[in-house]
C-alpha cells in the first residue's frame, strides 16, 4: 500500500509541468555554473603558479650581500574546492610579505574579472542549491496537502482508513525522490564537466571525500526544504494561501535571517572595526612613549645633566648633546683626559639606567598593546559567534556555513590565512631574520654561521587549508542542525497534518 502511495506521488509530480521546468533549470544552470567555476579556478590557479614561479626565479634567493631587511613573499594557492562554493574566496588576500620587524603585510589584487560577473555574483553549486533547488523543492510541495484538500482527493484517501502518518510519509518520500531525479542528473553532468578539466581530478584525495560530504549536506538540506514545503502546506487551507506563506518563509530564510543576523549581532555585541583598533593602539603607544620621554628627562637626564655640568663647568651648553651622543652608544672625547674619564664613568652609570627604563616601558607598551588586541579579539569572537548562532536559525545559513567551510572558503578562512601568514613569518624569522643582530635600529652584523654573501634561499609558503576533520570540528553543529531541521519540519508537518480538516 505504502509503495502504491509513493508511486502515486512520484508519478503525479513527474507528470506535472513543474517537474519539466525544474529539470530544465537544474540541467542548464548547475552544469553551466560548474563549468564557469572550473574555468575561474583554472585561471586563478594559473595566475598563482605563474606569480609564484616568477617570484622564485627573480627573488627566490636574496641578492648578496643581504641587509637583513629583505622581505619574502608567500602566495595563497586557490582552494580546489572553491569550485563548489566560492564563499569568501574573492575577498581573501592573495599573498603575504614578511618583514624583519615581525609584522607581515597582506595583499589583495583588485578583481580583474568581467565587471558583469562581479556585479551579478558567481553561480557556483552552493548558490544554485540554495536559490534554485530550494525554491524548486518548495514549489514541488506547497500544494500537496492544501491542493489535495481543494480537489477532494485527500478526503477520499482518509476515508480509505489510511493512517495519516503514512500519507505524510509517502508524500515526503515521493516528492523527495522526484526532486532528486533532476538534481542527481544535473550533478552527474556537472561532474562530467568537472572531470574534463586538466587541473582538477575528482578522484583525488582532496576532492572526493569533501564532495561526498557536500552531497550529504545537500541531501539533508533538500529534505528539510521538502519537509518545510509540506509543513507550510498543512498550515493553510488553500493552495494560494500556501504559495503566499511559502514566499514569506523562503524570503525570510534566504534573505532575512542570514543578512539580518550579522547586524543584530553587531547591535547586541558591538565591536570596533580593525581600523579603530589600529588607531587606539597607535594612540596608546604614543602616549606611553611620551610618558617615557618625560620620565627619562625628569628622573635620569636631570641628574646626569647636573653632574655633567659640574664636570664641564665651562661648556655647560654641550651637556644635552653629550647625553644624546653617549646614550646612543658612541664615545665623546674632549681634550682633557681627566674629564674624559669622568664622562665615561658617568655614562657607565647612567646609560644602563636609561636602558633599564627603556626596557621597562617597552614591556609596558607590549603588554598594553597585547591587552587591547586581546580585548578586540575577544569582542570580535563574541560577535562572530553571536552572528553565526543567530544565522543558524535558518537552514539556508547552516547549509552555507557547512559547505563553504568544507570548501575552505568559509567564515573562519580569514583567521586561517592570518595563522598561515604568521607561520610563514615565523619560518622566515628562524631562517633569516633571527640571524641578523640589530641594535637601536642599526644592523650590527650577523651571527657567526651566517654568511651574508651566501644567504639561504627563502622558503616557499606552505599554505595549509583546513582538512575535513578540522572543518567538521568547526561546522559539525551545522550538520547536526540540518538534521534537526529535518526532524523539526517533519514533526511540525505531522502535528499539523494530524489535526488537518480534510473537508
Amino acid at each position: 500500500m505504502f509503495r502504491t502511495l509513493i508511486m502515486k506521488e512520484i508519478t503525479e509530480t513527474v507528470l506535472d509541468l513543474r517537474f519539466v521546468v525544474a529539470t530544465l533549470l537544474c540541467v542548464v544552470l548547475i552544469p553551466l555554473g560548474m563549468y564557469v567555476s572550473r574555468e575561474d579556478y583554472e585561471q586563478r590557479l594559473a595566475a598563482y603558479q605563474r606569480e609564484r614561479d616568477t617570484y622564485r626565479q627573480r627573488y627566490g634567493t636574496p641578492e648578496p650581500p643581504v641587509t637583513g631587511q629583505e622581505e619574502a613573499q608567500g602566495f595563497r594557492p586557490p582552494s580546489v574546492l572553491s569550485i563548489f562554493a566560492s564563499g569568501l574566496d574573492p575577498f581573501l588576500p592573495d599573498k603575504v610579505a614578511t618583514s624583519y620587524l615581525g609584522l607581515f603585510r597582506t595583499f589583495k589584487e583588485a578583481g580583474a574579472g568581467s565587471p558583469q560577473s562581479l556585479l551579478f555574483g558567481k553561480a557556483d553549486l552552493l548558490f544554485n542549491v540554495t536559490f534554485i533547488v530550494s525554491l524548486i523543492a518548495l514549489v514541488f510541495t506547497f500544494n500537496c496537502v492544501s491542493g489535495e484538500r481543494e480537489k477532494g482527493t485527500l478526503r477520499l484517501m482518509i476515508a480509505n482508513s489510511m493512517p495519516r502518518s503514512r500519507i505524510l510519509l509517502s508524500k515526503i518520500a515521493g516528492k523527495y525522490v522526484a526532486l532528486l531525479v533532476p538534481f542527481t542528473l544535473s550533478i552527474l553532468i556537472a561532474l562530467l564537466v568537472l572531470g574534463g578539466s586538466r587541473s582538477v581530478s575528482i578522484g583525488s584525495l582532496q576532492v572526493w571525500p569533501a564532495f561526498l560530504l557536500i552531497l550529504l549536506a545537500t541531501l539533508l538540506f533538500l529534505l528539510s526544504m521538502i519537509c518545510l514545503g509540506i509543513c507550510v502546506s498543512t498550515f493553510t487551507r488553500h493552495s494560494t494561501g500556501s504559495i503566499v506563506l511559502l514566499f514569506l518563509v523562503w524570503t525570510m530564510f534566504l534573505f532575512g535571517v542570514p543578512k539580518v543576523s550579522p547586524m543584530l549581532a553587531e547591535i547586541l555585541h558591538p565591536a570596533e572595526s580593525a581600523s579603530v583598533i589600529d588607531f587606539t593602539k597607535r594612540m596608546t603607544r604614543d602616549e606611553i612613549e611620551r610618558e617615557f620621554e618625560r620620565t627619562e628627562r625628569d628622573t635620569i637626564d636631570v641628574r646626569w645633566k647636573a653632574e655633567l655640568e659640574a664636570v664641564l663647568s665651562k661648556r655647560e651648553e654641550g651637556a644635552r648633546q653629550i647625553i644624546a651622543i653617549q646614550s646612543s652608544g658612541r664615545e665623546v672625547t674632549v681634550d682633557d683626559p681627566e674629564t674624559n674619564a669622568r664622562l665615561r664613568e658617568l655614562a657607565a652609570r647612567y646609560v644602563p639606567e636609561k636602558a633599564r627604563l627603556a626596557t621597562e616601558y617597552q614591556t609596558r607598551i607590549a603588554a598594553e598593546l597585547k591587552r587591547i588586541e586581546e580585548d578586540y579579539q575577544n569582542n570580535r569572537t563574541v560577535q562572530f559567534f553571536a552572528a553565526m548562532n543567530l544565522a543558524r536559525l535558518s537552514p539556508v545559513s547552516c547549509y552555507t556555513y557547512l559547505v563553504s567551510g568544507l570548501c575552505a572558503t568559509g567564515v573562519t578562512e580569514p583567521d586561517n590565512f592570518v595563522a598561515n601568514a604568521r607561520r610563514f613569518q615565523g619560518q622566515m624569522e628562524q631562517i633569516f631574520y633571527g640571524k641578523a643582530i640589530w641594535r637601536l635600529g642599526r644592523l650590527q652584523g650577523f651571527v657567526k654561521e651566517f654568511d651574508r654573501y651566501k644567504p639561504p634561499p627563502f622558503p616557499d609558503m606552505i599554505y595549509h587549508y583546513p582538512d575535513l576533520k578540522e572543518a567538521l570540528q568547526v561546522h559539525g553543529p551545522d550538520l547536526l542542525l540540518l538534521g534537526l531541521f529535518d526532524v523539526l519540519f517533519f514533526s511540525l508537518a505531522f502535528m499539523r497534518f494530524n489535526r488537518y480538516d480534510v473537508r
Partner: protein, 483 residues
C-alpha cells in the same frame, strides 16, 4: 467605470494575505537593509578619513624626488543604495615617477558573515524581494478570476477587456507601491539619522529621485509580466509555476549566464596570459637588441682595428680601442633609442588589442544580459551609484589624472640627468623639495547627468519591457477563453 474597477482591484489586493506579507517583508527588510548599508558606509568613510588625515600629517609638506603620492578613493555616498562592484574596487593608488602607477586593494574581512551572505542594500531588496512580491501579487489575477467565475461575469457586463486589464495593472501596481513607498519613507528617516549622510545634499537627492523613478518603472514591468503570465495560463497553479520559473530565469539565470556566454562566444585570454605575452615580446626585443649590440661592437672594433681583448674590458688599453669604444657608444645610443621606441609601440599595440577585445566581450555580455529587465535595472542603479560596470574604468581615469597632477607638480619640476653611473638633479625655478606640497586626489564620481547619459539605453529598455509585457498581457487577455 474604470475607477470602480481600479478600486475593486486595489481592495481585492489589499484585503489579501499577500498584501500583509508583502508589507511585512518590505517594512522589515528595506529599512533594515538601509540601516546596514548606512553603517557600512559610515565605517568605510571613517576609515577613509582617518587614513587620509594620517597620510596628510605624515607627508603633508616636503617631498622627495622619487616620492610616491597616495591617492585615496572615498567611498561613494550613493553606494548605500546599491553597492554593486564597490567591494571589489581598489581603495587607493600610488603614483610613480616612471608613470606606472599602482592600485592597492586592502583585504577587508572584518565581517565575514555579511560577506558570505551578501549585502542587503536597496538594490538587492528591490531586485529579489519586491520583484517576487510583484509576481506573487499578480499571478492569479486573470487565471484565478476565471476559475472563480468572476471574469466571465465582468465580460458579460460589457466591460471592454482593455479596461479590465488596465484596471488590473493599476490596481496591483498601486497595491505594490503602498508597502514600497512606506518602507522607503522609513528607510529615508533611517538614512537621515546618520551624521555623515544628508539626503538633501546635492549629491544625494537627484540621484535618489532617479533611483526611485527607475525602481517604479521596473516594478511596473514586473506587475505587467505577472499579468501577462496569468493571461497565458488557465489555472492559477500553472501561473504560479510559470511565474516562479520566469522569475528564476530572469533574476538568477540571465544575469549569471550572460557573462559566461559572452566568454564562450568571444573568448579572450586572462590577464595573466596577456601579461605573459607582453613579457615574451619584451624579452624577444631585448634579445634582438643584445644581438645587434654585440654585432655593432664587433664592427666598431674591427673598423678601428682594435685588439680583441679591448672589446671585453670597460677601459681599453690601446688608443684604437678607446676610439672604437667611443664610436660604439655613440652608435649604440641610437640603436637603443630605436629599440625602446619599438618596444613601446609593440606593447602599446598588444595592450590596445587586448583592451579592444575585452571591451567587445564586456559589451556583448551587457547586451546579452539586457534580455532581462533586472539587468537593465541593476545597470542603471549601479551606474547612478558610481558602482556599476564602468566603475573600474572611472577609477583608472581618476588615477591617471592624479598621476598627471603629481607629475606636473613634482616629477616635472625635477629633471634627472644621467651620465654613465652618475645622476644630477636640476630643479625648476622656485621649486623647493622641502616646501613642495603634494596635490590632493580629487576623486570624481560620475554625476547624475553623466550616469544617465551612459545609462539611457537601459532606461529605454525598461520602458520597452513595460510596453512589451503590457502588450503581451493585452494580447493574451483579448484571446482568453473566460469560461
Amino acid at each position: 467605470m474604470l475607477r470602480i474597477l481600479v478600486t475593486k482591484e486595489i481592495a481585492d489586493a489589499i484585503l489579501d494575505l499577500r498584501f500583509v506579507i508583502t508589507t511585512l517583508l518590505c517594512l522589515v527588510l528595506i529599512p533594515l537593509g538601509m540601516y546596514v548599508s548606512r553603517r557600512d558606509y559610515e565605517r568605510r568613510l571613517d576609515a577613509y578619513r582617518r587614513e587620509h588625515q594620517q597620510y596628510r600629517q605624515r607627508y603633508g609638506t616636503g617631498v622627495e624626488i622619487y616620492t610616491e603620492a597616495q591617492g585615496l578613493r572615498p567611498p561613494p555616498v550613493l553606494s548605500i543604495f546599491g553597492s554593486g562592484v564597490d567591494p571589489f574596487l581598489p581603495d587607493k593608488m600610488t603614483t610613480a615617477r616612471s608613470g606606472l602607477w599602482r592600485t592597492i586593494k586592502q583585504p577587508s574581512t572584518d565581517n565575514p558573515h555579511s560577506l558570505l551572505f551578501g549585502k542587503a542594500d536597496l538594490l538587492s531588496n528591490v531586485v529579489f524581494v519586491l520583484s517576487l512580491a510583484a509576481m506573487i501579487l499578480t499571478f492569479n489575477s486573470i487565471s484565478g478570476e476565471r476559475e472563480s467565475g468572476t471574469l466571465a461575469l465582468m465580460i458579460a457586463g460589457a466591460v471592454p477587456r482593455s479596461r479590465i486589464l488596465l484596471s488590473k495593472i493599476v490596481g496591483n501596481y498601486v497595491a505594490l507601491l503602498i508597502p514600497f513607498t512606506l518602507s522607503m519613507l522609513i528607510a529615508l528617516v533611517v538614512l537621515d539619522l546618520s551624521p555623515d549622510v544628508s539626503i538633501l545634499s546635492r549629491e544625494v537627492w537627484p540621484a535618489f529621485l532617479v533611483i526611485v523613478a527607475v525602481a517604479f518603472l521596473f516594478l511596473l514591468g514586473m506587475v505587467c509580466l505577472g499579468l501577462c503570465l496569468s493571461a497565458l495560463t488557465r489555472h492559477p497553479m500553472n501561473s504560479i509555476v510559470l511565474a516562479l520559473f520566469v522569475w528564476a530565469v530572469l533574476i538568477l539565470g540571465v544575469p549569471k549566464v550572460s557573462p559566461m556566454l559572452a566568454g564562450v562566444l568571444c573568448p579572450i585570454e586572462s590577464a595573466g596570459v596577456h601579461d605573459l605575452t607582453r613579457r615574451l615580446v619584451a624579452e624577444d626585443i631585448d634579445r634582438e637588441m643584445i644581438e645587434e649590440r654585440e654585432s655593432l661592437r664587433e664592427k666598431c672594433f674591427q673598423e678601428y682595428g682594435a685588439p680583441e681583448q679591448d672589446m671585453r674590458t670597460t677601459s681599453p688599453g690601446t688608443e684604437a680601442g678607446r676610439r672604437a669604444k667611443k664610436m660604439f657608444e655613440e652608435r649604440f645610443a641610437l640603436v637603443e633609442q630605436r629599440f625602446e621606441r619599438r618596444l613601446a609601440e609593440e606593447l602599446g599595440r598588444i595592450d590596445q588589442d587586448y583592451a579592444r577585445r575585452r571591451q567587445v566581450q564586456f559589451s556583448l555580455a551587457t547586451e546579452l544580459s539586457r534580455i532581462s529587465p533586472i539587468c537593465s535595472y541593476t545597470y542603471v542603479v549601479c551606474g547612478l551609484c558610481g558602482t556599476g560596470t564602468s566603475a573600474s574604468d572611472d577609477f583608472t581615469a581618476n588615477a591617471q589624472r592624479y598621476q598627471d597632477q603629481v607629475k606636473q607638480a613634482v616629477y616635472d619640476k625635477v629633471i634627472i640627468r644621467r651620465w654613465r653611473s652618475l645622476q644630477s638633479y636640476h630643479y625648476a625655478d622656485g621649486f623647493d623639495l622641502s616646501k613642495a606640497v603634494l596635490p590632493e586626489m580629487k576623486y570624481t564620481y560620475p554625476t547624475v547627468a553623466q550616469a544617465l547619459q551612459a545609462g539611457w539605453p537601459d532606461v529605454l529598455v525598461l520602458v520597452l519591457f513595460d510596453a512589451l509585457f503590457c502588450a503581451l498581457a493585452f494580447l493574451g487577455l483579448n484571446r482568453y477563453d473566460v469560461r
